[in-house]
Every structure is written in C-alpha cells, then in structure tokens.
Symmetry: C2
Subunit: 434 residues, 2 copies
C-alpha cells in the first residue's frame, strides 16, 4: 500500500450512515506506522485490491472498511507474546474502531465471522498481535435475525419463577451412567427445588444413553416432580450432534419429554443454531466448549463477549459461560462483560438471553455471584454443588433454595445465621472452603 | 481429586484396545504436581464425577480419558503468557499423551470438538496454559467418515494435470466488482494458463454480485476458456453462507456453471461441511478464516494441523491454509505439518486432501514453495500475483506456467536463466522483491 492509499481507509464517522456499518473494536500491536497498519487491517477485511489493473476505478468509498478512530495505547519493547516465526523489537499498541460495511456480505453469520475474524484480522501486514474486542450491529442488520424465542421473560413464564435466579443443575455422574439412574438423580434434584436439570455438555446420543430413551425417562421424572412439587420444571437435553441431526434430535427429545435443549454453540456452529432456532419449539441453551481457545489471552484472539453477542443473535434463550471463581480462569470484569452482552438493551428488537455464569458453584458461592452481578436476572448452574451434595441431589437442590431464602431477606451467609437448615449447613461445610 | 484417585486416570497403552481410543497430545503448564494436573485434564474431558454419592461404582475403566505418557519438558519461572486473572510463580511445562475413549460420544464432529477442546482442556484445575498439539484417530472411528469425494487424484483427473502443482488464482478485485467484469478477469486468467479461478473467501452472495448470476457468467467464461485452450478448467464459487443455504447454493452454483465450491470451514462449521459433503457433486475446497484466532500462539490453543485433519475428515478435497512467506506469520515447520496432515497415509481409507498453502504468492515465490514442499502435490494460489500482474490476469497466469517450465527442467529462477518470456520477467520484477 502506498502512503497515498492509506487515506482511502479512513473516514469521519459523522460522514457515514450508521445503519450501513458494523462497528468493530480491535486491539493490535504493530511494528511500523499505526496508520498504515490500521489501513491494512481495513483493506484485508474488505477491498484488498480496490481496482482493476489499468482501469480508473475505486471500490473503497462504498465497500472499504474504514478507520474511524485510532489511539496509541502503549509503546512496547517487544510484542506481548513471543511468536513463531519470531517477531522482535519495539511495537506500538493501538486500539482502533472500524466501520465495516455490511453490504459486503449481508446478515449472514458465517460471512460475518469470516470478515471480522478472518484473514483480514489475523494476517494484516505488520500486525502479528491482534484481538477483536467488541462488535456492534446497527438495527438494519439486527432486524434480519430472530434472536431468542423465549428470552428471559419467556423462561421465567415457563418456570413461573420471577423474583430470583433460575437454578440449573448439571446431572452428575453422566458419562457412562444409564438413563434410568440418571433420571432418578434428576427427579431427586427437581423435588429438592431445582428448576432445570440439565445434561452435561459432553453427554450426547451414545448407545449407552440414547437421547430418545433418556428424554423419555427424564420427561416422566420431570412430570412426576412437577406433580409432587406443584411447580413447573425443565429437563434440558443435550442435542449437540452433527448439524443434519439437530432438528431430528430436537423433535425426538421434545416428543419424549424434554422441554429445553442444549447445544454446544461453537462446535456445532452458530449458523446451525440459527437454523435450529427457526424450527425449535422449546428454549435453546448454549454451552461454551472451544470458545476459550480463542479468548483467554488478554491481547490476542477475540473477546468472549463477541461470541456472547453472536450466540444471542443466533437465538439462544440462555447462554452458559465461564463464571466467577478461580476454577474458570476468567476475570470478574470479563464475566460481567458477557452478562452485559446478554442483557444489552441496545440490540434492536432482539430479546435478552439469560446469562448463566458457571463453574464449581454451590450454595456456598451463590451470595458472591448474586452480589457481583447485582440483580436476579441470571441462571446459576452447579454440578457437584447439587449432585455431589452429601445428602444427595435433593439435598443439594434444597441447599440452593435455602441459601436464596437467606439472601432474599438481605442477610448474609458469611457468617451464616443461626439455625441453618441441615442441607444448607452441609453445603457450606462441604463446598464452602472452595 | 484425592491422591488415590489420580491413578484411575493413568493407563498402560499396551493394555488398551487401540481401536477404542483417540490419541491426543497436549502441551500444558501447571503450577502443581504434573500427575495431578494431567489426571484433571483427563477427568474434566470425560468422567468428571465417576460415581454416584453413596454408591460403590466407578465409570473410569470404560469411560475415562487416560494418561498414557507424561513428560516434563521445562521448568518455567512464570507462565509463558501473562493472564487475567493473573497467574504468577513457577510452572512446570509438560507434554502428555491421552487415550480418549470415543465410545463416550461416537463419530460426531461437534462432540469430538467439545471433548478435546472444551471445558476439559481449557478449564482443568491447575492448567491455565494448554495447547492441543495433535490428534490421531483409529480406523474404527475414521470408517464412519466419508472424507474427500475427489481427493488429489480426483482433482487431477478433472483438470488433466498430473505432473505439476495445481494453479489456483483468487480473482481480484472482488468486493464491489459486478459479475460481468469479474468473469472477464477469470476468462483472461484461464486463457493464460490458470487451472482454477476462485472467488475470494470474502465474496458471498450479495445483491451486487448474486451467486447464481456470477456462476452463470463465470461458467460461460470457463467453457469459452476450455474451448480456447483445449484443457479443462474449474470455477471455484464461494458458497459460504448460512448452513441452511449450503445445499441450495451448491446446486445453484453448479447448475449455473461452477464446478467446484469454496466453504469457509470454521465459520460455517465442520459438521455443516460434512452434511454438504453428502450432497455435493463437485469438489469442496476449504478456506481458513478464524482458525488463526486459536492457533497462532506456540503454547496456547490448538495446533492448526488438528483443524487440517478435521477438515480432511469433514470431506474437503483441497484445503487452503496459511502458507510460506513472512506475510502469513506461520513458521515453515507449521506449514509443513499442515501439508503432512493433508497427505498422511495413516488415515484409514480416507483420501488425501490437496494442500494449498497460500499468501502473497506469485511466479517469484513458486520455486521456494516447491522446493520447501519437495514434491508437486500441492495447490498454488496467488491473488495479486495473477490478477495484479502488470500484463493483466492472462500475463499473470502465463507467468506461473512459465516459471514452472523452468523449474520442471531442474533449473532455478534465482538467478533467472537468460531469455525469459516477457510475462515471467515482469512477474519477477514486480513481485520478486517480496
């Protein structure tokens, strides 16, 4: 790129029609001039060659991604990460906002991902270190998407739970356990007060636990628990499988008694989820395998909230995400960013998704999670905290409701009040040193 | 996990039936005991809780992933990368081989990805830094997959090109250019000697270049070029789109005159590609957006050859990958690893995929690429090297054939022999300083 060409990739945001552009925020480290590097980042993700040889034309005004803001944030003696092949010497750390014209590809998730996380982002000349920090969509783009069918309000109506977090539980053990004892564990947990008993994200449709049989037994157990407790329950069946099986498995799970389905979003693909959303009659819940492979490092890859926004766009009613606590190796700020992305009111007519931050939770962590989030619009998803409770799943689920009963009155569990119910006392003792 | 439990996640490889297990190689850095960390890595990706509370049972013998080899490779004063939340202090770097029982999920790509790149890999207690280095499948697992329909031999038969690299070219410009002039560029390149004129991976089905119209004009231009040159040509149409559009777009592209289709593998999803493979009548070619987000760092994420193996498994006949040269920020060793994964004979009955290492190539880089690979079973995919050639696309394509004519006789272009054809001389002059 010639110095003269750089200007073609810069624009004044006020001069552009906001409805025509996605807004992208990247962090990057470059060895040369930041303006040239930022222009390359734009060029490579849009009009890399903007004219034919020998013809006087320029596709940039309509089709180029354009820098609308560029800040130098630091001067570094070396790149933040050592790379192969080696990149040595001083780097300039920058933050850039780019307006990307969505007319280049339209409201299609695979093409969107290709544009903002493709060769343009990761192979722009002079930019070995780059991270997509956030993405914003104009209403004209969002309006092409259905988003969640139920959303938070819809989930609450299904469960008739309006004033507290929604209690999920990951049925454990799962890998290797046959459907009948698996259903019995769920039944106990529902009777103890769990709202949603869920399959582990690793539990598929294997011969030792066929989905149809599992859904049938869990569906019966669910109805029995609903009759015993008088309140609605959800069985969240994992239908993660090959894309061409998703609608069949959705139908089989629902016909047999599941009333929500889990999909591992990235492994299946967000576009396949969007396809499933058109067909689904029950809530879709996302799980997060693979995402951390691209999101953990502070200066490289993509911020996890980008995937949260895309999962909401694809139509998930609830999004399970790495939560608080040292086990999940995710900063409190990042968890809160993801929760905010689920709830962001600036998302067209698309409903919010229920954020479900998870990881080694139990009655002993509920207070911290609740106070850190600051409101009740979240799902809480213990595994061992319910199914590894010393009194069994019924006691584990009861301990969550008991913990909430304390917190709902404004009291703290740290230290706990006198005369705790036995299940809550056992949970605090077993899981509290975590 | 209690010290006693660790042993349940170790096994002697000779005692296992190799047909029942995937073999995984991970690099990781841990703060505590390597044996405990490796056991957690296995536990979290399989039987995290292997028994019910109060019942004497153990699902590990049949269902646990098991360490079969653990080596300490270095003692580090700090983790290789600074993280948020911070992890400080000495780390032990390890390499581990794990046998993962595929009965846990069966021959399903999304469940495979969830198992080996999910919560198990990235959230194992004590392992903040981890990279999946490689994966090996037993024949019993591979036999469930179709793999490539054409493979290298099939592509060569379609093109009647048997003894040299296959010459692809990315038609440029593309974003913003209408189908008629776009077809004219391709026609010139085919007539100059290009085998496969391809859409850019960013070129979808937008209103300014509808796929059906583009395929029709390119199809006509292709037939005209075949008649003019007397040899078969391929038009590689990018059908990357929402999953529920893939078969429709495949059919529209093929009916109108495309005879190969491009899919951005990760953005669309490997499982959707496997679905398309069942339907496709023409070669499927992969492009690599998003992959670098998880593969660039030497010690974190996943090695790109894992995705190459999975793309071959999903059925791609050719796999475009970051190639040689500084622009692609990929080590020569990594490119060669990916080429080897395409060709690996130890892959059941699944055909090899044509490796297509790309990035800023031209007649000036062909010699280095050819000699580094060491044989002719690769695709060569210039963009500007053909379509930005000073003599136009016909000259750019001719320069590739002319360069090959020199190399095929065992001569070098560095320095070039006397009496070079004009197109090749111009290519070396324009692109040779790269």
């Amino acid at each position: 790129m010639q110095p003269n060409d750089v200007r073609g990739f810069f624009a004044d945001w006020a001069s552009l029609d906001a409805e025509d552009y996605l807004l992208l925020e990247y962090y990057f480290e470059c060895s040369g001039e930041p303006e040239l590097a930022a222009a390359h980042l734009c060029s490579e993700q849009s009009t890399a060659q903007w004219k034919r040889v020998g013809i006087d034309e320029d596709y940039r005004p309509q089709f180029a991604a354009k820098v609308i803001d560029l800040k130098i944030t630091a001067h570094l003696p070396e790149p933040s990460y050592s790379l192969q092949p080696e990149v040595r010497g001083a780097m300039t750390a920058c933050q850039v906002r780019i307006a990307h014209p969505h007319r280049n590809f339209g409201p299609r998730l695979p093409n969107l991902i290709s544009a903002v996380l493709g060769e343009g982002a990761f192979f722009a000349p002079g930019i070995p270190i780059v991270k997509l920090l956030d993405i914003h969509f104009p209403p004209s783009f969002l309006s092409a998407f259905q988003g969640p069918q139920f959303g938070i309000d819809g989930l609450r109506q299904l469960l008739k739970v309006y004033d507290r977090p929604i209690f999920f539980g990951v049925i454990k053990p799962n890998i290797g356990l046959a459907p009948a004892p698996f259903a019995e564990l769920a039944h106990q947990a529902w009777c103890g007060g769990l709202d949603i008993a869920k399959d582990d994200e690793m539990l598929a449709d294997p011969d030792w636990s066929p989905l149809a049989e599992r859904a049938q037994l869990l569906g019966r157990a669910r109805v029995a628990a609903e009759q015993a407790t008088g309140v609605p329950k959800l069985y969240l069946a994992n239908i993660t499988d090959e894309v061409d099986q998703l609608t069949r498995l959705h139908d089989a799970a629902v016909a047999n008694g599941a009333n929500a389905v889990l999909v591992n979003a990235l492994p299946v693909g967000l576009s396949a989820v969007r396809m499933l959303r058109r067909h689904a009659t029950v809530p879709l819940i996302a799980h997060f395998p693979f995402i951390a492979a691209a999101t953990r490092l502070p200066c490289y890859g993509v911020h996890s909230r980008v995937f949260t926004r895309l999962q909401r766009l694809a139509g998930f009613d609830a999004i399970i995400m790495p939560g608080f606590g040292p086990r999940m190796m995710t900063s409190e700020a990042e968890v809160l960013d993801n929760i905010a992305a689920c709830l962001d009111p600036n998302f067209g007519d698309i409903k919010p998704s229920l954020p479900v931050p998870g990881g080694s939770d139990s009655a002993a962590t509920l207070e911290h999670v609740y106070h850190t989030i600051g409101h009740v619009n979240f799902g809480f998803v213990p595994g061992r905290g319910v199914f590894g409770h010393p009194h069994g799943p019924r006691g584990g689920a009861a301990s969550l409701q008991q913990a909430w009963a304390v917190l709902a009155t404004g009291q703290s569990l740290n230290p706990p009040p006198a005369d705790l119910p036995a299940e809550l006392a056992a949970a605090l003792q077993t899981f509290g040193s975590h």
